[in-house]
């Protein structure tokens, strides 16, 4: 039952194949499974469909898989920070499916929870609704959205144990908890690998049943997209 793998290559062993679908957690560069993504890059796997809210930036996170042209299709809500993305999409190299952010989050949650589809008001009367079933509830139109699952889900967590229990930190939680439930195999990289029993059971965000493999990535370099600060009061004088 030990889920701990000693290296990223071990954590991905036997799981990657061309044409597969990968979920990748994170919002912007916050809470992305950067070390696992680099493992995917090194594996050389091709023709990927990647489900992720964003597509990294040039040279970081999923931006690396775009640079190596390993991605065939992205399912995302916002890709504005990635120049290479725009270039590959406009040239027709890269397929893109935009989902509203809340719809994307809920599709993943539904996929992981065995919900085949749901109805939402988000996107009614827009391009997003094209080709989708419309039904009226309480006098208002809703569109049908389907649940999403993936062959593997890549997760970044702050703390984890050998049971696969995970704790996220601050806004680095974002898409990670839902994606952890929606991978046929879920692999988590954790900043702190702790003993089973060290995490208060009341404070566990993702129960271990959702996580198949864990790899320890101590002291990862974290990136900030927009460093915004305020002046200290004494400096304002």
């Amino acid at each position: 039952m030990c889920k701990v793998r000693s290296t990223v290559a071990d954590a991905l062993e036997g799981l990657v194949r061309d044409g597969m679908t990968i979920m990748s957690g994170g919002f912007g560069l916050c809470g992305i499974p950067e070390t696992l993504i680099e493992g995917i890059e090194r594996s050389g796997v091709q023709d990927l469909t990647v489900i992720s809210n964003n597509a990294g930036v040039d040279g970081i996170g999923l931006g690396r898989l775009l640079a190596t042209r390993q991605v065939r299709k992205m399912i995302s809500s916002y890709v504005g920070e990635n120049n290479l993305f725009a270039e590959q999409y406009l040239s027709g190299e890269l397929e893109l499916e935009f989902n509203p952010q809340g719809t994307l989050a809920e599709r993943i949650r539904a996929g992981g929870a065995g919900i085949a589809a749901f109805f939402t008001k988000t996107g009614v009367g827009t391009l997003i609704a094209e080709g989708k079933e419309v039904r009226s509830f309480a006098g208002e139109d809703h569109i049908m959205e389907t649940g999403l699952v993936a062959d593997i889900a890549l997760i970044h967590a702050w703390k984890g144990d050998a049971e696969g229990n995970l704790v996220y930190r601050k806004t680095a939680r974002n898409f990670n908890p839902m994606m952890a439930t929606a991978g046929r195999v879920t692999i988590a990289e954790v900043e702190h690998l702790v003993e089973v029993g060290d995490i208060d059971p009341d404070q566990i965000h993702t129960p271990g049943i959702f996580v198949s493999r864990i790899v320890h990535v101590p002291n990862p370099v974290k990136h900030i997209e927009h460093r915004t600060v305020r002046q200290r009061e004494e400096e304002l004088v």
């Binding site: 916002y78 809340g102 391009l127 806004t171 939680r173 839902m178 915004t228």
Partner: protein, 214 residues
């Protein structure tokens, strides 16, 4: 004379009420946080997964794990909570957020809103905008009245929509319009910006509107 970006943000802040949960978009809407009246309790929601958003950090106190929906470094407050993006959009879609203040490229006289895409030119994505306009109780748009000399308040939007009949109030540099979301479409000019006359705003607005100045 017309309102500056800060004056537009200050006007938008007058839509806040004590106890409101509010989502602010990127751009001028972000400035609204600077005009929350003293003594008024407002909780700012960030759709990536945070309620009770604090100000920008002091230099050297930035935390890469603590960002807002614009990917800017921010801080937490004693009342802050963190949650997943699914819970976050549950708040939004479920009607638990009182007010959304956001920018737009076009608004139509019936409340249609376009702010996410220019076909063939801009491929960035809608992010959370479609969920916000579909789910939040009241939607206030803050935008420049014109872009390159063209009215952004139109009879109907030419750009792909973010939402259909979703706008309650539009604040531009020239004035404020209220829009009826249900029943017969009706856009009403309710305020003029300082130094702006009815002639000027009428000339610069393509959308049809009635006038009922407060």
């Amino acid at each position: 004379m017309a309102w500056t970006r800060d004056q537009m943000a200050a006007r938008a802040a007058r839509e806040l009420e004590d106890g409101f949960y509010v989502n602010l978009g990127i751009g001028i809407p972000t400035l609204v946080a600077n005009y929350i009246p003293k003594g008024m309790d407002v909780r700012l929601q960030s759709e990536n997964g945070m309620l009770g958003m604090g100000p920008f950090p002091y230099p050297s106190e930035e935390d890469p794990d603590l960002i807002n929906a614009g990917k800017q470094t921010i801080t937490e407050l004693p009342e802050t909570s963190f949650f997943s993006s699914a819970d976050s959009f549950g708040m939004i879609r479920g009607g638990h957020i009182d007010l959304s203040i956001l920018g737009a490229m076009q608004v139509a006289e019936n409340g249609d809103l376009a702010n996410w895409m220019i076909p063939g030119k801009m491929v960035k994505g809608m992010g959370g905008a479609m969920d916000l306009v579909a789910g939040v109780k009241r939607v206030v748009v803050v935008m420049e009245h014109e872009a390159k000399g063209q009215s952004k308040l139109l009879k109907s939007c030419s750009l792909p929509l973010t939402g259909r009949r979703v706008t309650d109030l539009v604040i531009t540099d020239l004035g404020v319009f209220s829009i009826e979301r249900r029943g017969t479409p009706n856009m009403v000019l309710i305020e003029l910006a300082d130094g702006v006359g009815l002639d000027e705003i009428t000339t610069k607005t393509e959308a049809a509107f009635t006038v009922s100045l407060r």
